[in-house]
């Protein structure tokens, strides 16, 4: 075990995957110069540890700026024997290749009656909260959740980032990994040995009795902070669950928790409408309605684009305070009974 940052863990997982299987290749813009810090010894290029020197130019390749061809080429390569990892840098650039994700990656195996498998990993980083404005701050994973055939992974810690990326490379189906740049610098104890974290298994980051908080990606540390806050200020015991993968989603862990706590908050950095939070709320009100004691609240980014100015951008994302306020509301001592009008006022 050693303390490792989230970004270093991604680099470590890529190195392991490249070393373990010659069919694994990495390509994307500027990967050779390790511009984004996951294809070298570290963010700064160490003489040894550099991927180009270690794995050669055939297996690590700079691409032209052409996301559509890049993604389609990876899909075609995956259909014919390789297991590519494509580094798309910013999540905002996925849109350029949307047709390839939806019409090729997600559909080919199905349309062709199972003749092909498409073992490919698409990595992109959600750079938000860094004053890069609307063209570089998107958190678009929810739209991919609406596309059957893709798997959607949202690591929220260093150890998860490493283990989930290894599982993604092992996956025989297309996987999109959305990395949270606000977490890049966060450190965690990480096993230097190889390990995998299965998809569809949530991580309970904190156990609690009064309310379930499902937190996604960059919101996980915020939810944990909020849980501490309400514990000390109000004696509320909040359970914090990180689904880690959104497709497949570990509904069982979430439902079991809500059946115990009777209350649910979902927090994520994506836009509100049709986000992952909406899906989780819908699943719970379908399958654990009987257990619900309070309205299900979402703490998300609003349906607004991201402004540049720091004073504006700061307003838009979930914070520990916003999450704590939501927890407090649903746990307000007012007993919730079906005929209590007060409840309607909650959100």
């Amino acid at each position: 075990m050693s303390m490792m940052t989230y970004i270093a863990a991604i680099g470590a997982a890529q190195r392991e995957a490249m070393a373990a299987d010659k069919r694994v290749i990495i390509f994307g813009e500027d990967v050779e110069a390790n511009v984004y810090g996951t294809t070298g010894g570290s963010k700064t290029r160490a003489e040894q540890g550099d991927f180009v020197q270690e794995f050669g130019r055939s297996r690590i390749r700079n691409t032209p700026i052409a996301e559509e061809a890049m993604v389609g080429t990876a899909i075609g390569a995956a259909m014919t024997g390789l297991r590519p990892i494509v580094d798309l840098s910013y999540s905002n650039f996925l849109y350029m290749a949307m047709d390839q994700f939806v019409n090729q990656a997600a559909k080919n195996r199905y349309m062709f009656g199972g003749q092909s498998s498409i073992p490919v990993v698409f990595r992109s980083a959600m750079f938000y909260g860094l004053n890069t404005a609307a063209h570089h701050s998107d958190r678009p994973y929810p739209m991919f959740m609406n596309v059957p055939g893709l798997k959607v992974v949202v690591p929220a810690s260093a150890s998860d980032a490493k283990g989930l990326l290894r599982t993604a490379v092992d996956s025989n189906d297309p996987v999109l990994i959305f990395e949270a740049v606000p977490l890049w610098g966060l450190k965690e104890e990480v096993d230097e040995n190889e390990y995998r974290i299965p998809f569809g298994v949530a991580r309970v980051r904190r156990e609690g009795e009064d309310v379930t908080v499902v937190a996604i990606s960059g919101c996980v540390p915020l939810a944990l902070a909020a849980a501490e806050q309400v514990a000390s200020t109000r004696g509320i015991s909040a359970e914090v669950i990180d689904p880690r993968t959104l497709v497949p989603l570990d509904t069982k862990t979430i439902l079991d928790s809500v059946r115990r706590t009777g209350r649910l908050i979902i927090t994520e950095p994506a836009h509100r409408t049709c986000g992952a939070a909406a899906e989780i709320a819908a699943i719970v009100v379908e399958q654990a309605f009987e257990a619900l004691r309070a309205p299900v609240l979402r703490v998300t980014a609003p349906d607004m684009q991201i402004p540049f100015s720091p004073v504006l951008e700061a307003e838009l994302y979930p914070t520990a305070d916003k999450i704590a306020a939501a927890i407090t509301r649903v746990c307000s001592n007012k007993p919730f009974s079906a005929d209590d009008p007060a409840k309607g006022a909650v959100p």
Binding site: P64, M70, G72, T73, G76, A77, M79, Q115
Partner: protein, 330 residues
Amino acid sequence: MTPSSDIMLEMQRRMLRIRLFDERAAKMLMRGLIPGTIHTSIGQEAQVVGACMALREKDKLAGNHRSHGHPIGKGSALGPLMAELVGKAGGVCKGKGGSMHLADYAVGSLGESGVTGSSIPIAVGAALSAQVLGEDRVSMSFFGDGAANQGVLYESINLAAAWKLPVVFLCENNHYALSTPSRTVTSGKISDRAKGYGIPGVLVEDGQDVLKVYEAACTAVERARAGEGPSLVEVMTYRYREHAEGLRLTVDYRDAAEKQHWVSRDPLKLFRQELIDRGVADEAAMVAMEAEIAKEIDEAVKFSNASPYPEVKSAFEHLYTDPYEMEGAQ
């Protein structure tokens, strides 16, 4: 470089398969035996077969909505193709794909794409895997003159040229994209676009002559196989029927004389005569071959008729390769 008699006879055989398969499929669609719609390659057989015959069995291809000719030209068995058009369990894609999405991995057909242009980088990817894994295979991407205006083609050409990938971009220029004349929406000559990428751009003016297409395709395929990178081959041809079967357009977007000119240059008639003139075959041999293929088509329909419809549960299979439990399956 004239191909052997065997190759030439195989060309005529495959062109006949496409012609008769599509004629039969068109009839079946009209009679409601094939659901959805189909796009025939009737009139374009030389362009399809000349290109496919330049490929080896291990070579890959990816195509488009006008999809029957490509796998047939690559050597697919007809029964499973016909069964796929009908939506049977015995279909080459188990009834999941249908006409526009045929794929036959047994012969290197990676899949046709109903979305125009979308399969072009798939062929590039197959070339990349060949290069990285050191496998001796080439891939060919088929797309129309309409799809040639999709940006992904130029991204793909540039990437393939930069990486010297073994891929051939084959443009089936039948002069129209649905009702839209190529000349009204396509600036310049498609094959000339290769020059800007430093790769060969070849124009086959007479795409009704299977040998001309074959020669151009072979040159491009050999170049790819030799590790010299991609080529763009544009073949001028014509579709004899409407864009899609069942489509009724009251606007005459094709000039009668133009159509007549191309119909008069029927690739099957032309090559049939050529085979006889060259003494490769005689009238009797040709008649025999035509009967043989007609029988193959009948067999294919029989195969399709004999095949059951897929079980409903198969609608929920093949989305993922790894075991997967679907939320809220109904």
